[in-house]
């Protein structure tokens, strides 16, 4: 890699994409974008306990089961 390449926009993007999961690119499909949003959302639910409790009450499940479901849904 030449020194100038490091500042090239593409390599910068690649760097971002490698470092931050979910960084988009020009050819991103609607589906890929949505999947990424879903994953972010579920991760946020799992991180915010009160929201999980809120869902758990709605679905009448235990919070532990709810967390398991949220971790399981987007990836399998």
């Amino acid at each position: 890699m030449q020194a100038s390449d490091r500042f090239n926009i593409n390599s910068q993007l690649e760097h971002l994409q490698a470092k931050y999961v979910g960084t988009g690119h020009a050819d991103l499909t609607r589906f890929e974008w949505a999947v990424n949003i879903h994953r972010d959302t579920y991760a946020s639910y799992v991180g915010h306990y009160p929201i999980m409790a809120y869902f758990a009450v709605a679905e009448n499940e235990s919070i532990g089961r709810e967390r398991y479901n949220f971790m399981q849904v987007p990836f399998c």
């Binding site: 009160p50 809120y54 919070i63 089961r65 398991y68 971790m71 399998c76």
Partner: protein, 1211 residues
């Protein structure tokens, strides 16, 4: 509009709990995270959990772990939060604070996918900690000690793997070899690349071991192997000589023992017999207990059943894994096994409990073992068991938890001095209606009738060194009664007290003699029985007395004051006389400072509305040192000395200070600081306590002096965690009180009221509410109050449960099969709280049996909260469930008030929200509102989630449709509708001709109804998509709402727009026809914005104190309560925003989250001052307080006064 936000009750739910010895030595403590609060609890000798410290950290705690360096005596706390930082805390016993030892930043803040904080794992030998994210990132920090034995932390070592989901991590115990961490991971990179979905179906979870090479300072993936795809949790197995090492992998239906180079040992988790076949069994919490010779695990399933897991091993080969049924307790979020033989169970929902181990499950019981595991064609053969009542555990204490709070209303139904908060809490069989009253709970120990109406009561010791009181002396109008305290309390006549006269004061004088002051003299009873009498001169009588152990001051009628001192020989000697200008209203002597002969100050209250401080020093005896005029004649005076403390139980350093408290005749408590040298009074504060003049008494609370004020209700002033708190007691009006101490009751209060003598203790200090709980049957959803009839109507519904009849039938069946006699009716199912109930299936303990997801049970209940009785309970049939209700008066008034209930039949959320039908039921109240009778039922084309009365008609939000109904003979009649709402209507409120509609996802819409054209139309809406969870109408143009992410916001229609619409003859309708961007023509403005950090489920505009201004009260899912108070002056806004600014700079939150960023997590905070942060001001070190105070041009005392004042405006 500027608001002051204050938490009234911190969240009561628990996210996670850890146990260890945080203060060092042998003591066992529990640290619990309650969302944004970190608490330290300790079980005391009686097995009651005491809260030692509670810190608001302004961030979301996600995980906690404790570790101990080898050879150390003390555990440290590691906190994983949303701050993007790892924080290590140490509990400082001396100052009673959490000290931040280390704080290392590793990523962005917020609960993100790839920023660690979600998981924490500790090397069992305390050498390293791993912090992980849901995806990709894992960091390892090496923990060590420097030369002066301080904890050090290394820079982070990365153990990242991209495209990998992490489900759980834990440390592997491998003795003193290199630390190893285990993780359940799933690589989804292939699944992402494969559009056919085949790779996604084949994706496999792996158990991966990460080894930290301490020599190379490097983390490597050491070993990875497939695990069951249902794996969700890891538990460390002891190793290094204590056990076989490795991990327990908890998966759906299985527990598997795994280790590197060891074959899997798998056993099934026993299932309940009544569990539907399609449901799995998941372990949700686990605890390991290790003793010298053995270890075992306690695992709890999502249904609440606990299992004891033991490993049969020979060195590091595991031969058998056994899972034995242990007991069933409500589902927990964390289990802590304490070394002292207690089990702390932090419940997911409802009250937390402390259990004592009666046995450790050695008796035979249902057991699954790896040795008997049978694989058939359908999979592994399940093992069944039937839950039974507790055998191994005994509940000894519980901590109240309001989680989840579903609905809340403030109303003064009981016509008490302050309104009560009615809240619907809990879930399923553990749900309840809780009535919260501001104040401390008391527990009454004894009530006995006296032969007359007593006027006063005292307790007295025989000797200063005695631990307990010897006598209770009760004074009547013309007699005195002496009771001796022993095993029992009984009347005695040999005490030496004069019993034919009323008493004015009784106390211990000198070291061991007693004094009785009566109107005509002072009786001094020496220890050897000699009695000295001092008689008043002439016909004058004694009217008031003040005394401490060595000094007595009496006031005679006419205003003469006589001062006595106890001399060296124990004689009471007259020292000085002084003539006051008029009658003395009250007097008090300050307690003797430590190491002194006498106290210097005498306070005298006169009927000319003044309080004078007189000197008692021999040099300037009876000189007036200072004078304070007050608003009304003082009735009672009390000096309260706050001892100097450098921390201890109550937090920050305090120099000794002396407060003079005065109860005035207009019901105000007046409090000022007395300068210890000059006697000057400064820093006066006053607070209205009640309709009667407060009488003040000094009592002992937690070993410290506290003040009891008896007005129309009793109040307690005491110091808690560095704050002086003045809180009402939930007890009836008392006349006179004294502290009480005997061997049955170390710190009690004896009081007289009416003709009864009462002995009680004060419980749960520091809490601002006490509650009474009334059990309900299903998860309560909403309720309405009927203020005139003093009744509540509650709707309850549960998904995935069987109806009462089905449960009853199933129960009968199992009783018959097990040979137990038939037991009870439906009512008995609700009193699961009493331990004696022999019903083996108390639902409260075991939960309702699970049914398939689309099955609902629901009921409508009319309750009289005063008698806690249900006057009517209608169980809905046919898979219907109630979601909304309102009371409605239709304009034809044929039936008077009716009840409308919105229900759905066969509602399902997954995979898509579907339902069979929606209905609106109309009920009629009968028998004075106590009974409901169905009038008719109207089918509608959606789920009616919101109902509201509007101009003699019923407004219903049915899916995205707002519809106006009128009452017909057989059904409701559609009058008008608007279908333009974006998603689902979740709340409707009305004011005059405006309708404020809250959409589930799209915030508020303001509507109007035009009667002449019979049209409903939206004239304004919000620009921000908000997932509403609660809504409250504030004024004509303003609405408050709360969204799912924990924000509270207010929107307001701009004044000019509002005027325009009101003036426009078409009501803004012309404009409405030309909406903007698919929305309404006008937009509301967001005027207030605040991140609470907890899902707010209910909002209410109300006042919690009589005569106080209205504030917004909110309740949250985690069971917290808070309030927003609007500021009334610009000065206050300036003051508090500056204080908040300085607090942000000088006192950043404990767990590393930036305060302003936290309060702006989703939207920038706007016009709200965080009172919780401001209230941390007293916990700052003194020099810091002074520095901030200087910047604000005030003294620290003034700041404290301000904080106290604004709190008193709310509660």
């Amino acid at each position: 509009m500027y608001l002051y936000s204050l938490t009234l009750q911190q969240a009561t739910g628990i996210i996670c709990a850890i146990n260890g010895s945080f203060s060092g030595g042998k003591s066992q403590e529990i640290v619990v995270a309650r969302g944004k609060v970190l608490d330290l609890l300790r079980p005391d000798d009686n097995g009651k959990l005491q809260s030692l410290l509670s810190v608001e950290i302004f961030g979301a705690i996600r995980s906690l772990a404790q570790f101990r360096l080898t050879g150390a005596q003390k555990d440290y706390i590691v906190v994983g939060s949303d701050s993007g930082r790892i924080v290590i805390l140490e509990y400082n016993k001396e100052k009673n604070t959490f000290d931040k030892i280390h704080q290392e930043t590793f990523g962005k803040s917020g609960c993100r996918r790839i920023v660690p904080g979600q998981y924490l794992a500790i090397d069992p030998k305390g050498r390293a900690v791993m912090i992980g994210a849901c995806e990709k990132q894992k960091l390892v920090y090496v923990l060590n000690r420097d030369t002066v034995a301080r904890l050090t932390i290394s820079s982070p070592l990365e153990a990242h793997k991209s495209h990998t989901i992490c489900y759980s991590i834990c440390g592997v115990d491998c003795g003193f070899e290199n630390p190893i961490f285990a993780a359940i991971e799933l690589d989804y990179s292939e699944a992402d690349q494969d559009p056919t979905g085949q790779a996604a179906n084949e994706a496999q979870k792996h158990l991966t071991f990460y080894e930290l090479d301490l020599g190379l300072n490097h983390v490597s993936r050491k070993w990875s192997e497939q695990v069951d795809n249902g794996a969700n949790m890891l538990v460390t197995v002891p190793g290094g000589g204590d056990g076989p090492s490795g991990v327990l992998v908890c998966a759906e239906n299985f527990v598997i023992y795994k280790n590197q180079g060891h074959p899997d040992v798998r056993a099934v988790i026993p299932r309940r017999e009544d569990l539907p076949a399609e449901r799995g069994v998941l372990i949700v919490s686990a605890a390991m207990h290790k003793q010298k010779s053995m270890f075992f695990f306690l695992l709890q399933t999502e249904y609440g059943d606990m299992f004891k897991v033991t490993l049969d091993h020979e060195n590091d080969r595991v031969k058998e894994l056994k899972i034995k049924y242990f007991d069933t307790i409500p589902v927990t979020s964390s289990l802590c096994v304490l070394k002292s033989g207690f089990l702390f169970a932090a419940s997911e929902f409802g009250n937390h409990a402390l259990y004592q181990f009666q046995a450790i499950g050695d008796d035979p019981d249902v057991e699954a073992s790896s040795a008997t595991l049978m694989e058939t064609e359908e999979g592994f053969q399940p093992v069944f068991f039937q839950p039974r009542k507790l055998k191994n555990l005994l509940r000894i204490d519980q901590i109240e938890s309001l989680m989840p709070m579903m609905d809340m209303k403030v109303n003064n139904l009981f016509e008490e001095e302050t309104p009560q908060i009615f809240s619907l809490c809990g879930r399923g069989p553990r749900s309840s209606l809780r009535v919260l009253r501001p104040g401390l709970a008391i527990s009454e120990m004894a009530v006995s009738q006296l032969p007359g109406v007593p006027s006063a009561v005292w307790t007295v010791k025989k000797n200063v060194n005695d631990e307990f009181d010897a006598y209770i002396v009760v004074s009547f109008a013309n007699a005195t009664l002496v009771l001796s305290i022993g095993e029992t309390v009984e009347e005695v006549s040999d005490s030496g007290f004069l019993d034919t006269t009323p008493s004015l004061a009784v106390s211990l004088i000198g070291d061991d003699s007693l004094m009785q002051v009566h109107p005509s003299g002072i009786r001094h009873i020496r220890e050897d029985g000699r009695i000295n009498e001092w008689r008043t001169p002439g016909k004058r009588t004694i009217v008031k007395v003040g005394s401490n152990r060595l000094q007595v001051v009496i006031a005679l009628s006419g205003g003469e004051i006589i001062y006595f001192e106890v001399d060296m020989t124990g004689q009471l000697m007259e020292v000085e006389k002084h003539e006051m200008s008029g009658d003395v209203a009250c007097l008090d002597i300050s307690p003797i400072p430590e190491g002194r002969q006498r106290s210097r100050f005498l306070a005298v209250g006169s009927y000319d509305n003044t309080i004078r401080i007189l000197s008692l020093d021999p040099d300037d005896c009876m000189q007036i040192l200072s004078l304070q005029s007050v608003s009304s004649p003082p009735e009672s005076l009390l000096f309260l000395e706050v001892q100097a403390s450098t921390g201890g139980d109550d937090g920050a350093d305090h120099p000794a200070s002396l407060f003079l408290n005065a109860g005035l005749q207009n019901g105000v408590l007046f409090r000022t600081v007395v300068d210890m040298v000059t006697g000057q009074l400064s820093d006066a504060r006053s607070r209205f306590l009640g309709l009667r003049a407060p009488k003040l008494f000094s009592i002992i609370v937690r070993g410290r002096r506290a003040m009891l004020c008896l007005s129309s209700r009793p109040w307690l002033g005491y110091i808690h965690q560095g704050h002086f708190l003045l809180t009402p007691l939930s007890y009836e009006t008392l006349e006179y009180a004294a502290s009480f101490s005997s061997d049955q009751c170390a710190e009690g209060v004896v009081a007289v009221a009416g003709d009864a003598l009462r002995i009680f203790t004060i419980e749960r200090l520091g809490e601002s509410f006490n509650e009474t709980s009334i059990p309900l049957r299903y998860t309560p959803r909403k309720f309405i109050v009927q203020p005139k009839r003093k009744l509540l109507v509650i709707i309850e519904s549960d998904q995935g449960a069987f109806t009462a009849e089905e449960r009853e039938a199933a129960k009968k069946e199992s009783f018959e099969s097990s040979g137990v006699g038939e037991n009870g009716n439906i009512e008995q199912m609700e009193n699961g709280d009493d331990e004696e109930n022999n019903d083996p299936f108390s639902d409260e303990q075991y939960g309702y049996p699970k049914a398939e997801a689309g099955k609902w049970v629901s009921c409508i209940r009319v309750m009289d909260p005063r008698s806690a009785s249900t006057t009517c309970l209608l169980e809905l049939q046919d898979n219907e469930s109630a979601f909304s209700l309102c009371s409605v008066n239709f304009h034809d008034k044929e039936y008077g008030a009716l009840l409308a209930v919105g229900t759905a039949k066969g509602l399902q959320f997954w995979p898509k929200r579907t339902f069979e039908a929606g209905y609106i039921h109309i009920y009629r109240f009968k028998e004075d509102g106590k009974v409901l009778e169905l009038l008719h039922k109207t089918q509608v084309d959606g789920v009616p989630l919101a109902l509201c009365q509007f101009q003699g008609r019923l407004l219903a939000g049915i899916g995205p449709v707002l519809r106006l109904y009128d009452l017909g003979k057989r059904r409701l009649l559609r009058k008008c509708e608007n279908k333009l709402f974006p998603n689902t209507i979740s709340s409707i409120q009305t004011y005059r001709d405006r309708i404020y509609v809250g959409d589930m996802q799209e915030s508020f819409h303001y509507c109007k109804y035009r009667r002449d054209e019979n049209q409903l139309y939206i004239f304004a809406d919000d620009t921000v998509p908000r997932w509403l969870t609660a809504a409250q109408h504030i004024d004509f143009d303003t609405v408050a709402g709360a969204d799912k992410f924990g924000n509270i916001y207010f929107v307001r229609l701009p004044q000019d727009v509002s005027d325009e619409i009101e003036e426009d003859p078409t009501g803004g309708k012309i404009k409405w026809e030309q909406g903007k961007l698919n929305g309404a023509p006008n937009k509301v403005e967001e005027i207030v914005q605040f991140h609470v950090g907890d899902v707010v489920t209910c909002l209410q505009k109300s006042s919690l104190i009589p005569g106080g201004g209205e504030c917004i009260i909110y309740g949250t899912v985690m069971g917290g309560l808070g309030a927003f108070l609007p500021f009334t002056s610009r000065d206050d806004v300036d003051f508090f925003s500056h204080l908040e600014m300085h607090m942000r700079q000088e006192h950043p939150p404990l767990c590393g989250r930036d305060h302003i960023a936290y309060r702006s997590s989703y939207f920038p905070v706007k016009d709200v001052i965080d009172g919780d942060l401001c209230e941390q001001f007293p916990t700052l070190p003194m020099d810091m307080q002074r520095k901030i105070a200087d910047e604000l041009d005030r003294t620290p005392g003034e700041i404290l006064k301000k904080l106290e004042e604004i709190r008193n405006k709310i509660i």
